[in-house]
Structures are given as structure tokens and as C-alpha cells.
């Protein structure tokens, strides 16, 4: 009995020792030399592996950043400036300041304003739907409502509003990784600077049809009338292919364009007070009058 125990213990111990030696040797032999900074940077990064930076994941980003030795071409949209500053400390280099951005939906054709003209029946995927036909509303450019963007978002920042049939961005969760932008076959989601205290103006429409066609399809469509561009005193608005676009760098958030837009396609968000359209219109009229007198 005792003999058996002794034998068992000694054989197992010998086996354990032998195998640990083998393992030790293998680990030495096949060790990959790696810059320790890669690990450090990876730990600093958010670790969502969302691919928003353009790399396959956080590790790939760290690898590329260490190889480049600077952060000129690399930016983690999820972590933002704060994380990038930490990464810069590890790498010992400077980091560019980048304004935090957020995804905005360039479509406000809700169920009520953009009537359905047919019923879609097929795989609930915007990609499949977009490849098949122009969509179940008269608008060729707007949201298809199947939620590919919602599925693409890893941060749970997007959800479909059942009342409007449009995606809604939760600004507190959005990291501007750009996954939704890539997922949307109609390219209606745009990454825009968050703006001071989150305030920003944008054209919530992507319709490039001519005015009457766009108007017929959707009551809230940008009809490319150009009134906003004419009104804007900061030259922030351009109208191209029947569609207005507000340059966020030039916009001074005066909200005049929002007030004059005949279809309500321009949206302002996070402003402390609701827009008093009449007051703004009056202000514009007075300014125009003055300008006319000056000329």
C-alpha cells in the first residue's frame, strides 16, 4: 500500500518536473520580442475593438501607433482627447487636439411626414432593401428604417424610434466610431463636431431630388431652395445638388437658417431655449432693410 503511494507520488512529481522543464524551454525558445509599450497603450485604450480608428482592433491600433512613433495619423474616436493624451505620454509625443464628434441622422422623414407608397417584405436589412429598390417611401435618399445602424453600433447609442421609424442617437453613449456611417447604405449618418455644450445646427435631410419631387415625397425634405444660404451671414451654408449643408466650422449657431427653412429640414439641438421663429425672422427682416438702405 505505502509502496503504491510512494510510486504514484514520485512518478507524478517526476513527470511534472519534466514537463515544466519542457514548457520553460519552449517559452524561452519561441518568445516573441515585443515593444512593451504596445501592451501599455492597449491597456489605456477603451478596449471595445470597434474599429472606429480604422484598425482591426485596439491591439492593432497600439501596434501601429508604436511603429509610427507618433499619433499624427492615429486617433481613437471612442477614447477621445483624454485617452489620446495618455497614449501620447506613453509614446512621448504630442497629440493633436480634436473636437469631440457625434453621429447625426440626416433624415427627419418620420412616418407622418413621409408617407409609405408600398410595403417592404423581405430580410429586415437596409442593405438588402437598398439594393432591391428605391425604398418604401417616395424618397430615394432617406432612412430605410431597418436598423442596420442600430445593429452596427457596439455602444448601444442608436435605437429605432417606433413613432418616427428613424434612428435616434444617444449622445451620451455615442463615441463617433463611425460604424453606423459605414453600415448605412444611404449614407444618411454624418459625424459632426458636438459643438459648444452640445449645441449644433445641421440639415436633417439627404434628398438630392429637385424641390417639387422631394417635397412630394416628404414634407420635411430639404428642397434645395437656398433660402438658408442666402440668409446665413457667416457663409456657412452651401447648396449642392438640391441639398443644403452647414459647415460646422463656420456656423455661429445663430439659428437664422433654422427659422427661415420652409420645410423644417434644418434642426438645432441642445439649445437652452426653444427657437422663436417669428422673432428671428423679424431680426432678419430688419437687417435686410438696413442693408438695403446702406446700398
Amino acid at each position: 500500500m505505502t509502496e503504491t503511494i510512494i510510486w504514484t507520488v514520485s512518478v507524478l512529481t517526476a513527470l511534472g518536473l519534466l514537463l515544466s522543464l519542457v514548457l520553460f524551454w519552449v517559452a524561452r525558445k519561441f518568445r516573441v520580442e515585443e515593444d512593451p509599450r504596445i501592451d501599455e497603450i492597449e491597456k489605456t485604450l477603451p478596449g471595445a475593438n470597434c474599429g472606429g480608428c480604422g484598425f482591426a482592433g485596439c491591439r492593432a491600433f497600439a501596434d501601429a501607433a508604436v511603429k509610427a512613433g507618433n499619433l499624427d495619423a492615429n486617433f481613437c474616436p471612442v477614447g477621445g482627447s483624454e485617452v489620446m493624451k495618455k497614449v501620447a505620454v506613453i509614446l512621448g509625443c504630442e497629440v493633436k487636439e480634436a473636437a469631440p464628434r457625434v453621429a447625426v441622422v440626416r433624415c427627419n422623414g418620420s412616418c407622418a411626414n413621409r408617407p409609405l407608397v408600398n410595403t417592404y417584405e423581405g430580410t429586415q436589412s437596409c442593405k438588402v432593401k437598398a439594393a432591391l429598390y428605391g425604398g418604401d417611401t417616395g424618397c430615394l435618399f432617406g432612412c430605410l428604417g431597418c436598423g442596420d445602424c442600430v445593429a452596427a453600433c457596439q455602444f448601444g447609442a442608436l435605437s429605432m424610434d417606433p413613432a418616427t421609424g428613424l434612428p435616434v442617437v444617444d449622445e451620451t453613449k455615442c463615441t463617433a466610431c463611425g460604424a453606423c456611417v459605414k453600415a448605412c447604405p444611404k449614407r444618411i449618418i454624418e459625424l459632426r463636431p458636438k459643438g459648444p455644450r452640445g449645441m449644433r445646427e445641421f440639415v436633417s435631410c439627404a434628398n438630392k431630388d429637385k424641390g417639387p419631387v422631394a417635397k412630394k415625397a416628404c414634407a420635411n425634405a430639404c428642397i434645395g431652395c437656398g433660402i438658408c444660404a442666402k440668409t446665413c451671414t457667416h457663409e456657412a451654408i452651401t447648396v449642392e445638388a438640391n441639398l443644403a449643408w452647414i459647415d460646422p466650422d463656420k456656423c455661429k449657431l445663430c439659428r437664422e437658417c433654422e427659422a427661415v427653412c420652409p420645410t423644417g429640414a434644418i434642426h438645432g439641438v441642445n439649445f437652452p431655449k426653444p427657437l422663436d421663429k417669428e422673432a428671428v425672422k423679424q431680426r432678419i427682416a430688419e437687417r435686410k432693410k438696413k442693408e438695403a438702405e446702406n446700398v
Partner: protein, 326 residues
């Protein structure tokens, strides 16, 4: 007129549906069920009802309250599992045992993998094997077929396979075993004791033919299992008839017919391609005969199918459809 529908092509669908397929399988099992009632009477009916209610109820509860996706509930599929499980159990099995089998089959083997279409192992067989290893006494106490429906107090005993196995283990030859038990080979084949699904090869083959006509299954898997078993049994029996049982005995006893016709052909847990199916069948045949001839269990159909179930993903990777122009 309402708004027209727009959808990608094709705009037609064949009359086939999952429910219809499952219904066909149930119809195909009816002859074998009838025969088992004839042999075992009411006890068999109780086992069947408990098993079916257990399987369908368990699936519904899990789908409804655990997965919270009532849409994936498939009554017919659970029913097939229930019937197959009942046919794998002795008619003497107490109701609570059948219920445990049903819970394991649906709850563990099927739903924990994600439900219909996701399971790796055949649910009914998993349930049976669980019972076999948990309650070996009840599970091997087979009722001898009653001569008529009225004769309720049937005799219980061991299956021919286990009789021979036990005899061989104690060093006797097959003839000696038979002599010791006062039986001969033809009698064994006529009055096969066993689980209800094992008793009438003819009824099972009849049901399977219905499935073939309805194009629900293809014959490759059962054919390769049966041929493999026949080949192995033929060779061994020819070399040493004293210690190895023959072809007819091996094909008609135990779960070979039920297993190869209805359990191994389960869509979800079998390879989809013709040659993949053949390899799968040969594997099952080999394992069955290894267990029967050299293993300690008298019967190995359930184990063989479960073992080959593991290889299905690999087989599917190796065997592909013949592609056009390649």
C-alpha cells in the same frame, strides 16, 4: 387597393415547411407505434403520452419564459423528439423517469444549445442515454412482448443482446448460452424483447419508405449503417460463429433499425451531403459493432449515434456539394 408588397425575388415558395416535415416523420412512426401498442398495451401508451407532454411542455416553457422568443416554438419538432424518446424506453419505465428523460432531451440536449436547428446531439438519444446511465436497472428491465393486448401481466426480462453478452462474458459460446436459457436463434428473432421501437423492423421500414416517397429523407445514411453492420457481422461470424453473432441477429435486434432509420437521419445532427452521410453511417456501424463485440455494454446504437454526432461539423467541412463547372 392596399399598398403593394415589394420584396426580393423569388416571389413563390414551395409547399414545404418545417411543420410539414415533422408531421411526415410522425406519420412514418405511426405503424411502429401501433405495433408497440399491440405488444405492450396500455403501459406503452402511458410512456408515450408522458414523453410527448414532457417534451412539448418543456420546450414551450423554455421558449416562453427563458428565451422569451415565443416565435421559435416548434410543437411538431418537440413532438417528434417525444415520440422517439418513448420508443427508446421500456414500456415498464415509471412515469417520473420518462419525464426526466424528456426534460434532459429538450432542456439539456436541445434548448441549451439554442433550440431547434442548433443542437449538436440528437435530443431523444441524449435523453435515453442519460436514463440508461442514471437508472440502469429500470432501463434494462425489458418487457417481453405480450401475445395479445389483453394479456396485461407480461413477463419482464433481459434483451437477447444482453442475454448473449452476459453469457459470452462468463466464457460460454453462443450456442451454450442459448441452450442454457432454453432458447434458439429463430425464437430470439421472432420474440424480440426490447424497447418498443425495437420490436418491429417491418413497421419501421414501412414508415421509412413513406419518408422516402415524400422525399423527406435520403436513404444513404441508413443504407451505409446497415451495410457496415452486415459486413462486420458477416466477417466475424464467418470466422468464429461460436463467439460472434450473425448478420440477421445484429440487424434485427437492439436499436439498429430505429436508430439508423429515424435517429441517425435527424437533419440537424447528420451531415447534409451524400458522401458525408455515407461516412457518418459507416462510422455509426463501426462503433455499434465494436461496442457489441468488444465493449462491456450489450448495445451501442445510442452511443454510436452520439459519438458520430460530434463529427458532423467536421464531416460537413470535408464533404461538399459537387459545384457546377469546377
Amino acid at each position: 387597393m392596399d399598398k403593394l408588397i415589394v420584396s426580393p425575388s423569388p416571389h413563390l415558395h414551395s409547399p414545404a415547411s418545417t411543420d410539414r416535415i415533422m408531421l411526415d416523420v410522425i406519420i412514418a412512426l405511426v405503424p411502429a407505434l401501433l405495433v408497440s401498442f399491440l405488444f405492450y398495451g396500455w403501459a406503452q401508451l402511458i410512456v408515450l403520452v408522458v414523453s410527448c407532454v414532457g417534451c412539448v411542455g418543456c420546450e414551450w416553457l423554455i421558449v416562453r419564459y427563458l428565451m422569451k422568443r415565443p416565435a421559435v416554438f416548434s410543437c411538431t419538432s418537440a413532438l417528434v423528439t417525444g415520440i422517439l424518446l418513448a420508443m427508446n424506453l421500456p414500456a415498464t419505465a415509471p412515469w417520473w423517469m420518462v419525464l426526466i428523460g424528456a426534460l434532459v432531451a429538450i432542456g439539456v440536449a436541445k434548448m441549451s444549445f439554442g433550440g431547434l436547428g442548433q443542437n449538436i446531439f440528437n435530443p431523444a438519444i441524449t435523453g435515453r442515454v442519460f436514463l440508461l446511465v442514471s437508472f440502469p436497472v429500470q432501463m434494462t428491465n425489458w418487457t417481453m412482448p405480450a401475445r395479445s393486448f389483453i394479456e396485461m401481466d407480461a413477463i419482464t426480462g433481459a434483451t437477447p443482446l444482453s442475454v448473449i453478452k452476459e453469457g459470452l462474458k462468463s466464457g460460454l459460446s453462443i450456442d451454450e448460452v442459448l441452450a442454457a436459457n432454453g432458447m434458439d436463434m429463430s425464437m430470439l428473432l421472432r420474440d424480440i424483447g426490447g424497447s418498443s421501437g425495437e420490436i418491429s423492423a417491418f413497421a419501421l421500414v414501412l414508415g421509412f419508405c413513406y419518408l422516402l416517397v415524400r422525399r423527406v429523407v435520403k436513404p444513404w445514411i441508413p443504407l451505409s449503417i446497415v451495410l457496415t453492420i452486415a459486413a462486420i457481422a458477416g466477417i466475424f461470424h464467418a470466422v468464429d460463429p461460436a463467439h460472434y453473432t450473425g448478420i440477421a441477429f445484429n440487424l434485427l435486434t437492439g436499436g439498429v433499425m430505429l436508430g439508423s432509420l429515424f435517429m441517425a437521419t435527424d437533419y440537424v445532427t447528420s451531415p447534409f451531403s451524400k458522401w458525408g452521410g455515407v461516412i457518418y453511417g459507416i462510422g455509426i456501424g463501426l462503433i455499434v459493432m465494436m461496442i457489441r463485440y468488444f465493449g462491456s455494454y450489450p448495445e451501442g446504437m445510442s452511443f454510436a449515434i452520439l459519438i458520430m454526432n460530434c463529427f458532423v461539423p467536421l464531416i460537413n467541412r470535408a464533404f461538399h456539394q459537387k459545384k457546377f463547372g469546377r
